[in-house]
C-alpha cells in the first residue's frame, strides 16, 4: 500500500498534511461560539450557525474558528452567540436571527464595532 510513488505524490501528501495542520490550529484569533442546547436549536440556532458559516465562506475570512457550546443558561435570549476577538472581552449577543447574525459578523468581526443593540453581556 505505498501511497507515495513520485515527487508529485509526496507534494500532494504534504498539501493534505498542511491542511490537517491548519485544522489543528485551535488558537484562532477570532472565536465564535454558538449555544446549541435544545432550547437554542428550537429557537433556530442551526440556521444562525449556517448563516455565520455562509458569511465566513462568502467573505473568505481567515483565522477564525466556529465552535458550539451547550445551553448557556439564558433560555429566553436564544439563539445566543458569543464572539471573542483576540484578547478582547467575550461579547454575548441574544436573539440572533440569521439576518442579525450576518449584521454582527459584518460589523463586529469585520469592522470591529460591537453591535450594541443585541448585546446581552460583555465579559
Amino acid at each position: 500500500m505505498s501511497k507515495v510513488k513520485s515527487l508529485e505524490d509526496l507534494k500532494r501528501v504534504r498539501e493534505e498534511a498542511l491542511k490537517k495542520q491548519a485544522a489543528k490550529n485551535t488558537a484562532s484569533k477570532i472565536q465564535i461560539i454558538i449555544g446549541m442546547g435544545t432550547v437554542g436549536i428550537v429557537a433556530g440556532a442551526r440556521e444562525t450557525l449556517k448563516a455565520i458559516l455562509d458569511f465566513i465562506e462568502q467573505e473568505k475570512l481567515q483565522d477564525i474558528s466556529v465552535r458550539q457550546t451547550s445551553n448557556i443558561g439564558m433560555d429566553s435570549w436564544e439563539p445566543i452567540i458569543q464572539i471573542v476577538v483576540g484578547d478582547k472581552p467575550k461579547v454575548s449577543y441574544g436573539k440572533v436571527t440569521t439576518q442579525i447574525a450576518q449584521q454582527i459578523m459584518q460589523e463586529h468581526v469585520v469592522d470591529g464595532n460591537i453591535v450594541k443593540e443585541y448585546v446581552i453581556e460583555i465579559q
Binding site: L7, E16, N25, I41
Partner: protein, 594 residues
C-alpha cells in the same frame, strides 16, 4: 475553499483499520449527511493519533482538540448528534489528555539556533504526515529525482558537516570512502548507542523526530549505493525504539522505505537493533560486532568500516544527529549550512547541559559560540549565585576546563587543543563546591566499569587509576601518586585500541593540569578545598548560632550529636559518618564543614 467549522481526523493506522476505521469513516459521513452537517464538518484520514492497541479506532475533533476513543460504528449516530449538532462532548468516549510538560527542552533561549531540534515537541513523532507537512522527505525526493549520488556527497562535503558523534570526521569524506569501496551489499548504520552519563540529545531526536533520522539514512544509502540499514539503539531507550519502529512502519506504508522508492530504482529498508547495555558498543567496530551477534568488542582499524564493516562489507556509520542534519543540508543547500559556525566546524550542535547551571536541559547552538555564552546566556548562569569552577565537555572521556578557558569557542579543534573534546555533546557545569579529585574519581569509576577488557592498558590501567584516586579522596594519598597518575594516563592513552581507552584518562589529565593544587592539598595537607571528600572534612556546630533545638541530634543516624535542650550541641568527630543530615536539617545555619 469551503470553510469547515470542524474537522474530524480518523486514525487509519493498520491496527485501527483492522478494528474498523473505514466503517467509522463511512458511518461518520452518512450521519453528517443525514443530520445536514456535511458542508460544515469535514472528515479526514490521518495515520495515527493515540496508541491503536489501547484506543483504536479513535478520532480527533478540531478545533476543540477532543480525542474520542474505542468507537464502533453504532456509536456514531449519537456522537454526531451530541457533538456536532448540540455541541456537547460525549464523555463516554473521551480520553483524558495528560497535560504535557517538557522538562528537557524549553522554548529556544537567546543565542540558540534549532536545526536538529527544530521539530522536537512541535510535530507528532508517531504521525508521518506531521513530518511531511514540514517538508519531510522532500530532501530524499530531491536527492533521488534531481541529484546523482556524487552530487549528494558533494553537497554534504561542501556543507562542512562533521560527525556529531564526537570524533568530527567530515561526513562527506566518509560517504566518499564508502561509495568508492568495492563490494555489495553495502550497509548504512546509525549509531544510536548514546551512553554518556547525562547526555540525551540523541534520545530526544529519536523520540521526537524519528523520520529526520530515517530520511538522513535513506539519503546516505542513496549516496553510497546501499539498500539495507540498521539503527543500533541502546536497550535503555525503549521509548525511542518504540517510536522508531512506528516511524519505520509508517515510512514503509507510504513507500518512503522499501523497494523502488518514489518510482525510482533506489530501494532501501531499515531495521532497529537493540544494544545490551554496554557503553563500549558506541564505538563503531564494537557496535558492528554487536549487530553481527558477537561480543561487543572493538577491533583494530584499518580496515575502516567504509572498506570492511558489517559482515565484512563496506559500511557507512554515522551518529543520530549527523543523519538528522543531512535532510536540511540537502534541502537548504551546503551554503546555508556552511554559513553557520566557524571555519572548520560548521553548523549547529546540540548539547545536554547539566550540573550546577540554572537552565539545565537540551540546547542547540551554532558552532563557535563560547563556553561563557553557553553557561551564562543560554544556561542562565550558575545555580544559587555561586561561582563557576569548571565545565566538563564530551562525556566521561572529555576533560574539565577551568574558568580561564571560558572564552574558548566551542568547535572540534579548540576543545581538543584545550585537552577536552566535543564528544557527543554532554556538558556538565560545576560550581565552586565541586571537588575536582572527586569528579575525576567519579568519571574513572564509570570508564573503569565500562572497559570491555580487551586491552590491558584500559582494563588494568583504569582500575589502577581508580584505586589511586579513591585513596587520595579517602585521605590516603601519598607523595608520588600524582606522578604515577600522569604516567598511567600517558600509557593508557597510547596503548589502548579504541576511543574508550584513549579517552578514559582525559578527566584525570585535565584536572591534574588545571587543578593540580587540589590534588596536592588532598595528598600533602589531607585537606579537601571544596569540602566534599568525607575523610577530610569535619562537621562542627557553631556555638553562637546553635539554639539547642535538638533537631540535629534527633536526626543524626549514628547518635554522634550530644547536648541538652537549649544548650549548644556538639558533634563527636569519631562517631560522625559525615552524612550531612545535620547540615540539612538545621534551621539556624549552625552546622559548618571544616
Amino acid at each position: 475553499m469551503t470553510f469547515f467549522r470542524s474537522h474530524i481526523l480518523v486514525s487509519i493506522d493498520p491496527e485501527c483499520q483492522a478494528k474498523g476505521a473505514y466503517q467509522i469513516i463511512d458511518a461518520l459521513n452518512d450521519e453528517l449527511v443525514a443530520q445536514g452537517l456535511i458542508g460544515e464538518v469535514q472528515v479526514l484520514e490521518t495515520s495515527r493519533i493515540g496508541d491503536p492497541a489501547a484506543y483504536g479506532p479513535d478520532i480527533m475533533v478540531y478545533p476543540e482538540g477532543v480525542h474520542y476513543v474505542k468507537l464502533t460504528k453504532d456509536d456514531i449516530h449519537n456522537l454526531v448528534k451530541e457533538h456536532f449538532l448540540k455541541g456537547r462532548a460525549v464523555e463516554k468516549f473521551l480520553v483524558e489528555q495528560a497535560a504535557k510538560s517538557d522538562d528537557e527542552l524549553g522554548p529556544p533561549k537567546p543565542k540558540e539556533v534549532r536545526v536538529v531540534l527544530r521539530n522536537c515537541g512541535v510535530i507528532d513523532p508517531c504521525n508521518i504526515e506531521d513530518y511531511i507537512a514540514v517538508d519531510g522527505y522532500m530532501a530524499l525526493a530531491k536527492s533521488i529525482s534531481e541529484l546523482t549520488p556524487e552530487e549528494v556527497i558533494d553537497t554534504v562535503l561542501k556543507s562542512g558537516l562533521r560527525g556529531r558523534g564526537g570524533a568530527g570526521f567530515p561526513t562527506g569524506r566518509k560517504w566518499q570512502f564508502a561509495s568508492g569501496s568495492k563490494g555489495s551489499p553495502k550497509y548504512i548504520i546509525c549509531n544510536a548507542d548514546e551512553g554518556d552519563p547525562g547526555a540525551f540529545m540523541n534520545r530526544r531526536v529519536l523520540e521526537s523526530d524519528p523520520h529526520a533520522v530515517i530520511e538522513g539514512m535513506a539519503i546516505a544509502a542513496y549516496a553510497i549505493g546501499s539498500s539495507q540499514g540498521y539503527i543500533y539503539c541502546r536497550a535503555e531507550y525503549p521509548e525511542a525504539v518504540r517510536t522508531l519502529r512506528i516511524a519505520i512502519k509508517q515510512a514503509r506504508e507510504f513507500g518512503l522505505l522499501g523497494s523502488n522508492i518514489l518510482g525510482s530504482d533506489f530501494s532501501f529498508d531499515l531495521e532497529v537493533r537493540m544494544g545490551a547495555g554496554a557503553f563500549v558498543c558506541g564505538e563503531e567496530t564494537a557496535l558492528m560486532a554487536s549487530i553481527e551477534g558477537k561480543r561487543g568488542e572493538p577491533r583494530t582499524r584499518p580496515p575502516f568500516p567504509a572498506v570492511k564493516g558489517l559482515w565484512n562489507q563496506p559500511t557507512n556509520i554515522n551518529n543520530v544527529e549527523t543523519y538528522a542534519t543531512v535532510p536540511q543540508v540537502i534541502l537548504k543547500g551546503a551554503e546555508w549550512f556552511a554559513s553557520m559556525g566557524t571555519e572548520h566546524s560548521k553548523g549547529t550542535k546540540t548539547f545536554a547541559l547539566a550540573g550546577d547551571v540554572n537552565n539545565t536541559g537540551l540546547i542547540e547552538v551554532p558552532m563557535g559560540i563560547t563556553l561563557r555564552e553557553i553557561i551564562f546566556e543560554v544556561g542562565g548562569g550558575i545555580k544559587n549565585g555561586k561561582n563557576f569552577k569548571a565545565i566538563q565537555t564530551g562525556g566521561p572521556m572529555g576533560g574539565c576546563l577551568p574558568a580561564s578557558d571560558l572564552d574558548l569557542p566551542v568547535d572540534y579543534e579548540s576543545l581538543s587543543q584545550a585537552g577536552s573534546m566535543m564528544g557527543s555533546g554532554g556538558m556538565i557545569v560545576m560550581d565552586e563546591e565541586t571537588c575536582m579529585v572527586d569528579i575525576a574519581r567519579f568519571f574513572m569509576e564509570f570508564t573503569q566499569e565500562e572497559s570491555c577488557g580487551k586491552c590491558v592498558p584500559c582494563r588494568v590501567g583504569t582500575r589502577r587509576l581508580l584505586e589511586i584516586l579513591t585513596d587520595i579522596c579517602d585521605g590516603k594519598g601519598k607523595a608520588g601518586d600524582i606522578e604515577t597518575l600522569e604516567m598511567l594516563c600517558k600509557q593508557i592513552k597510547q596503548d589502548s585500541l579504541c576511543g574508550l581507552g584513549q579517552g578514559a584518562p582525559n578527566p584525570v589529565e585535565s584536572t591534574l593540569k588545571h587543578f593540580r593544587d587540589e590534588y596536592e592539598a588532598h595528598i600533602f595537607e589531607k585537606r579537601c578545598p571544596a569540602k566534599v571528600c568525607r575523610a577530610m572534612i569535619r562537621y562542627e556546630i557553631l556555638e553562637d548560632a546553635c539554639t539547642g533545638c535538638t533537631v540535629c541530634a534527633r536526626n543524626c543516624p549514628v547518635d554522634a550529636i550530644t547536648g541538652e535542650r537549649r544548650q549548644t550541641h556538639t558533634i563527636d568527630p569519631d562517631m560522625c559518618v559525615r552524612c550531612g543530615i545535620c547540615l540539612q536539617v538545621c534551621n539556624f545555619n549552625a552546622v559548618t564543614i571544616n
